[in-house]
Protein backbone atom coordinates (compact mmCIF):
# COMPACT_ATOMS: atom_id res chain seq x y z
CA UNK A 1 0.00 0.00 0.00
CA UNK A 2 2.83 2.33 0.94
CA UNK A 3 4.68 1.49 -2.26
CA UNK A 4 1.56 2.20 -4.26
CA UNK A 5 1.12 5.70 -2.80
CA UNK A 6 4.74 6.45 -3.57
CA UNK A 7 4.14 5.78 -7.27
CA UNK A 8 0.98 7.81 -7.15
CA UNK A 9 2.86 10.73 -5.63
CA UNK A 10 5.53 10.46 -8.28
CA UNK A 11 2.93 10.48 -11.03
CA UNK A 12 1.24 13.56 -9.56
CA UNK A 13 4.58 15.35 -9.32
CA UNK A 14 5.32 14.55 -12.96
CA UNK A 15 1.96 15.76 -14.10
CA UNK A 16 2.28 18.95 -12.10
CA UNK A 17 5.77 19.74 -13.37
CA UNK A 18 4.56 19.08 -16.91
CA UNK A 19 1.75 21.53 -16.40
CA UNK A 20 4.17 24.11 -15.07
CA UNK A 21 6.47 23.67 -18.04
CA UNK A 22 3.55 24.05 -20.43
CA UNK A 23 2.48 27.19 -18.64
CA UNK A 24 5.93 28.76 -18.80
CA UNK A 25 5.92 28.33 -22.56
CA UNK A 26 2.67 30.25 -22.90
CA UNK A 27 3.77 33.91 -23.39
CA UNK A 28 4.96 34.35 -26.96
CA UNK A 29 7.97 36.66 -26.98
CA UNK A 30 7.96 39.25 -29.72
CA UNK A 31 11.00 39.12 -31.99
CA UNK A 32 11.81 40.65 -35.35
CA UNK A 33 10.67 37.56 -37.22
CA UNK A 34 8.81 39.52 -39.88
CA UNK A 35 11.86 41.65 -40.53
CA UNK A 36 13.91 38.56 -41.13
CA UNK A 37 11.17 36.79 -43.05
CA UNK A 38 11.03 39.42 -45.78
CA UNK A 39 14.79 39.44 -45.94
CA UNK A 40 15.36 43.14 -45.33
CA UNK A 41 17.60 42.58 -42.30
CA UNK A 42 20.37 41.74 -44.75
CA UNK A 43 20.28 45.31 -45.96
CA UNK A 44 21.14 46.51 -42.47
CA UNK A 45 23.87 43.90 -42.17
CA UNK A 46 25.28 45.04 -45.52
CA UNK A 47 25.22 48.70 -44.50
CA UNK A 48 26.98 48.09 -41.20
CA UNK A 49 29.52 45.85 -42.94
CA UNK A 50 30.27 48.57 -45.50
CA UNK A 51 30.67 51.06 -42.65
CA UNK A 52 33.08 48.85 -40.80
CA UNK A 53 35.05 47.93 -43.92
CA UNK A 54 35.37 51.66 -44.60
CA UNK A 55 36.79 52.23 -41.12
CA UNK A 56 39.15 49.25 -41.59
CA UNK A 57 40.39 50.62 -44.93
CA UNK A 58 40.98 53.98 -43.28
CA UNK A 59 43.02 52.28 -40.55
CA UNK A 60 45.02 50.41 -43.20
CA UNK A 61 45.77 53.65 -45.06
CA UNK A 62 46.97 55.34 -41.84
CA UNK A 63 49.07 52.25 -41.11
CA UNK A 64 50.68 52.45 -44.56
CA UNK A 65 51.42 56.15 -44.27
CA UNK A 66 53.10 55.55 -40.92
CA UNK A 67 55.15 52.66 -42.35
CA UNK A 68 56.34 54.94 -45.15
CA UNK A 69 57.41 57.62 -42.67
CA UNK A 70 59.14 55.02 -40.52
CA UNK A 71 61.14 53.84 -43.52
CA UNK A 72 62.14 57.38 -44.48
CA UNK A 73 63.37 58.41 -41.04
Amino acid sequence: MLKMSKYWLGFCAMLFSGMLAAQSKMPEVEMADVMRANGKIYVVVAVVCVLFIGIALYLISIDRKLSKLEKES
Binding site: M31, I41, C49, F52, L59, I60
Partner: protein, 219 residues
Protein backbone atom coordinates in the same frame (compact mmCIF):
# COMPACT_ATOMS: atom_id res chain seq x y z
CA UNK B 1 52.51 40.81 -44.63
CA UNK B 2 53.66 38.35 -41.98
CA UNK B 3 53.34 40.78 -39.08
CA UNK B 4 49.97 42.13 -40.21
CA UNK B 5 47.97 38.91 -39.80
CA UNK B 6 46.44 39.95 -36.48
CA UNK B 7 45.01 43.14 -37.98
CA UNK B 8 43.31 41.08 -40.69
CA UNK B 9 42.06 38.68 -38.01
CA UNK B 10 40.57 41.62 -36.11
CA UNK B 11 38.72 42.86 -39.21
CA UNK B 12 37.44 39.38 -40.07
CA UNK B 13 36.23 38.71 -36.53
CA UNK B 14 34.36 42.02 -36.30
CA UNK B 15 32.69 41.44 -39.68
CA UNK B 16 31.75 37.95 -38.48
CA UNK B 17 30.25 39.58 -35.38
CA UNK B 18 28.23 42.06 -37.44
CA UNK B 19 26.84 39.40 -39.77
CA UNK B 20 26.00 36.73 -37.18
CA UNK B 21 25.19 39.31 -34.53
CA UNK B 22 22.24 40.45 -36.65
CA UNK B 23 21.04 37.27 -38.32
CA UNK B 24 22.02 34.58 -35.82
CA UNK B 25 19.53 32.90 -33.49
CA UNK B 26 19.17 34.49 -30.05
CA UNK B 27 17.13 33.48 -26.96
CA UNK B 28 13.60 34.87 -26.95
CA UNK B 29 13.16 36.88 -23.77
CA UNK B 30 10.50 39.38 -22.75
CA UNK B 31 11.49 43.08 -22.34
CA UNK B 32 14.88 42.41 -23.94
CA UNK B 33 13.42 41.15 -27.25
CA UNK B 34 15.93 41.75 -30.04
CA UNK B 35 18.02 44.11 -27.93
CA UNK B 36 19.79 41.06 -26.51
CA UNK B 37 21.99 41.40 -29.61
CA UNK B 38 23.57 44.40 -27.94
CA UNK B 39 25.59 41.82 -26.03
CA UNK B 40 27.77 41.51 -29.14
CA UNK B 41 28.40 45.24 -29.36
CA UNK B 42 27.93 46.87 -25.96
CA UNK B 43 29.37 44.21 -23.64
CA UNK B 44 32.33 43.52 -25.93
CA UNK B 45 33.42 47.15 -25.51
CA UNK B 46 33.83 46.53 -21.77
CA UNK B 47 35.65 43.24 -22.26
CA UNK B 48 38.02 44.88 -24.73
CA UNK B 49 38.51 47.79 -22.32
CA UNK B 50 39.43 45.50 -19.42
CA UNK B 51 41.88 43.58 -21.63
CA UNK B 52 43.52 46.83 -22.82
CA UNK B 53 43.72 48.17 -19.27
CA UNK B 54 45.33 44.92 -18.15
CA UNK B 55 47.93 45.28 -20.90
CA UNK B 56 48.47 48.89 -19.80
CA UNK B 57 49.04 47.68 -16.22
CA UNK B 58 51.61 45.12 -17.39
CA UNK B 59 53.52 47.82 -19.30
CA UNK B 60 53.36 50.14 -16.29
CA UNK B 61 54.88 47.46 -14.05
CA UNK B 62 57.50 46.74 -16.71
CA UNK B 63 58.34 50.44 -16.90
CA UNK B 64 58.99 50.52 -13.16
CA UNK B 65 61.46 47.68 -13.70
CA UNK B 66 63.29 48.91 -16.82
CA UNK B 67 62.70 52.69 -16.99
CA UNK B 68 62.29 52.53 -20.78
CA UNK B 69 60.21 55.46 -22.08
CA UNK B 70 58.77 53.35 -24.91
CA UNK B 71 57.27 51.03 -22.30
CA UNK B 72 55.71 54.03 -20.60
CA UNK B 73 54.34 55.24 -23.94
CA UNK B 74 52.71 51.84 -24.54
CA UNK B 75 51.09 51.91 -21.10
CA UNK B 76 49.70 55.39 -21.79
CA UNK B 77 48.35 54.69 -25.27
CA UNK B 78 46.72 51.42 -24.17
CA UNK B 79 44.99 53.26 -21.34
CA UNK B 80 43.76 55.94 -23.77
CA UNK B 81 42.30 53.37 -26.17
CA UNK B 82 40.78 51.53 -23.21
CA UNK B 83 39.22 54.75 -22.02
CA UNK B 84 37.84 55.40 -25.50
CA UNK B 85 36.22 51.95 -25.57
CA UNK B 86 34.80 52.55 -22.10
CA UNK B 87 33.23 55.79 -23.35
CA UNK B 88 31.62 53.92 -26.24
CA UNK B 89 30.46 51.23 -23.80
CA UNK B 90 28.92 53.85 -21.52
CA UNK B 91 27.03 55.61 -24.32
CA UNK B 92 25.78 52.37 -25.93
CA UNK B 93 24.77 51.07 -22.50
CA UNK B 94 22.85 54.26 -21.88
CA UNK B 95 20.86 53.83 -25.09
CA UNK B 96 20.17 50.20 -24.26
CA UNK B 97 19.07 51.11 -20.72
CA UNK B 98 16.60 53.69 -22.07
CA UNK B 99 14.70 51.03 -23.98
CA UNK B 100 14.86 48.17 -21.47
CA UNK B 101 15.11 49.79 -18.04
CA UNK B 102 13.25 52.94 -19.06
CA UNK B 103 15.92 55.53 -18.35
CA UNK B 104 19.27 56.66 -19.72
CA UNK B 105 20.94 56.45 -16.32
CA UNK B 106 19.97 54.48 -13.23
CA UNK B 107 21.69 54.40 -9.89
CA UNK B 108 22.81 50.89 -10.66
CA UNK B 109 26.10 50.13 -8.84
CA UNK B 110 27.65 48.98 -12.10
CA UNK B 111 26.87 52.29 -13.82
CA UNK B 112 28.10 54.42 -10.95
CA UNK B 113 31.13 52.18 -10.49
CA UNK B 114 31.94 52.64 -14.17
CA UNK B 115 31.59 56.41 -13.88
CA UNK B 116 33.99 56.41 -10.92
CA UNK B 117 36.42 54.18 -12.84
CA UNK B 118 36.42 56.55 -15.78
CA UNK B 119 37.09 59.50 -13.48
CA UNK B 120 39.99 57.56 -11.96
CA UNK B 121 41.48 57.03 -15.41
CA UNK B 122 40.85 60.67 -16.31
CA UNK B 123 42.95 61.56 -13.27
CA UNK B 124 45.69 59.30 -14.72
CA UNK B 125 45.77 61.42 -17.88
CA UNK B 126 45.69 64.65 -15.86
CA UNK B 127 48.60 63.38 -13.77
CA UNK B 128 50.57 62.59 -16.91
CA UNK B 129 49.89 66.04 -18.27
CA UNK B 130 50.99 67.82 -15.13
CA UNK B 131 54.58 66.49 -14.84
CA UNK B 132 57.20 67.67 -17.31
CA UNK B 133 60.18 65.41 -16.62
CA UNK B 134 59.56 62.23 -18.72
CA UNK B 135 61.10 59.77 -16.24
CA UNK B 136 59.35 61.33 -13.27
CA UNK B 137 56.10 61.39 -15.22
CA UNK B 138 56.56 57.73 -16.13
CA UNK B 139 57.26 56.59 -12.58
CA UNK B 140 54.45 58.59 -10.98
CA UNK B 141 51.86 57.57 -13.54
CA UNK B 142 52.97 53.92 -13.53
CA UNK B 143 52.41 53.70 -9.78
CA UNK B 144 49.09 55.51 -10.15
CA UNK B 145 48.09 53.18 -12.98
CA UNK B 146 48.49 50.17 -10.68
CA UNK B 147 46.12 51.78 -8.19
CA UNK B 148 43.72 52.77 -10.97
CA UNK B 149 43.58 49.19 -12.23
CA UNK B 150 42.85 47.79 -8.77
CA UNK B 151 40.11 50.38 -8.31
CA UNK B 152 38.63 49.48 -11.71
CA UNK B 153 38.43 45.80 -10.75
CA UNK B 154 36.82 46.71 -7.42
CA UNK B 155 34.31 49.14 -8.93
CA UNK B 156 33.19 47.25 -12.00
CA UNK B 157 34.06 43.68 -11.07
CA UNK B 158 33.50 43.21 -7.35
CA UNK B 159 31.18 45.83 -5.83
CA UNK B 160 28.30 45.36 -8.34
CA UNK B 161 28.36 41.65 -7.56
CA UNK B 162 28.01 42.26 -3.84
CA UNK B 163 25.07 44.64 -4.04
CA UNK B 164 21.79 44.78 -5.87
CA UNK B 165 22.20 45.41 -9.58
CA UNK B 166 20.20 45.31 -12.79
CA UNK B 167 23.10 43.83 -14.73
CA UNK B 168 23.21 40.10 -15.45
CA UNK B 169 25.62 38.22 -13.24
CA UNK B 170 25.36 40.86 -10.52
CA UNK B 171 23.34 41.18 -7.35
CA UNK B 172 22.06 37.62 -7.56
CA UNK B 173 20.93 37.92 -11.18
CA UNK B 174 21.76 35.00 -13.43
CA UNK B 175 24.88 35.62 -15.52
CA UNK B 176 25.28 35.54 -19.24
CA UNK B 177 25.21 31.73 -19.22
CA UNK B 178 21.75 31.81 -17.64
CA UNK B 179 20.22 33.34 -20.78
CA UNK B 180 22.26 31.47 -23.32
CA UNK B 181 21.62 27.87 -22.42
CA UNK B 182 22.53 26.29 -25.75
CA UNK B 183 25.60 28.45 -26.35
CA UNK B 184 24.37 30.03 -29.61
CA UNK B 185 25.41 33.46 -28.39
CA UNK B 186 28.80 32.35 -27.11
CA UNK B 187 30.03 31.44 -30.58
CA UNK B 188 29.48 35.06 -31.61
CA UNK B 189 30.32 36.77 -28.32
CA UNK B 190 33.82 35.39 -27.72
CA UNK B 191 35.09 36.04 -31.27
CA UNK B 192 33.54 39.51 -30.96
CA UNK B 193 35.59 40.22 -27.82
CA UNK B 194 38.78 39.10 -29.56
CA UNK B 195 37.94 41.06 -32.71
CA UNK B 196 37.23 44.36 -30.96
CA UNK B 197 40.30 43.92 -28.75
CA UNK B 198 42.50 43.42 -31.82
CA UNK B 199 41.03 46.54 -33.44
CA UNK B 200 41.74 48.43 -30.20
CA UNK B 201 45.34 47.17 -30.16
CA UNK B 202 45.73 48.19 -33.80
CA UNK B 203 44.60 51.76 -33.10
CA UNK B 204 46.94 51.85 -30.09
CA UNK B 205 49.77 50.55 -32.27
CA UNK B 206 49.21 53.37 -34.79
CA UNK B 207 49.30 55.98 -32.04
CA UNK B 208 52.48 54.56 -30.50
CA UNK B 209 54.23 54.58 -33.89
CA UNK B 210 53.11 58.15 -34.49
CA UNK B 211 54.50 59.27 -31.13
CA UNK B 212 57.80 57.48 -31.80
CA UNK B 213 58.13 59.30 -35.13
CA UNK B 214 57.46 62.55 -33.32
CA UNK B 215 60.22 61.77 -30.83
CA UNK B 216 62.64 61.00 -33.65
CA UNK B 217 61.77 64.24 -35.39
CA UNK B 218 62.27 66.32 -32.26
CA UNK B 219 65.45 64.55 -31.21
Amino acid sequence: MKKHWWKALGIVLVIYTIVFGFIGEVPRLPILNETIRNLYFHVTMWFAMVILMTASLVYSINYLRNGNLTTDLKAKELAITGFFMASLGLVTGSVWAKFTWGTFWTNDPKLNGTAVTMLIYLAYFVLRGSVDDPQKKGRLSAVYNIFAYVMMIVFIGILPRLTDSLHPGNGGNPGFGGYDLDGTMRIVFYPAVIGWTLIGIWITNLKIRYQKLLWKKNA
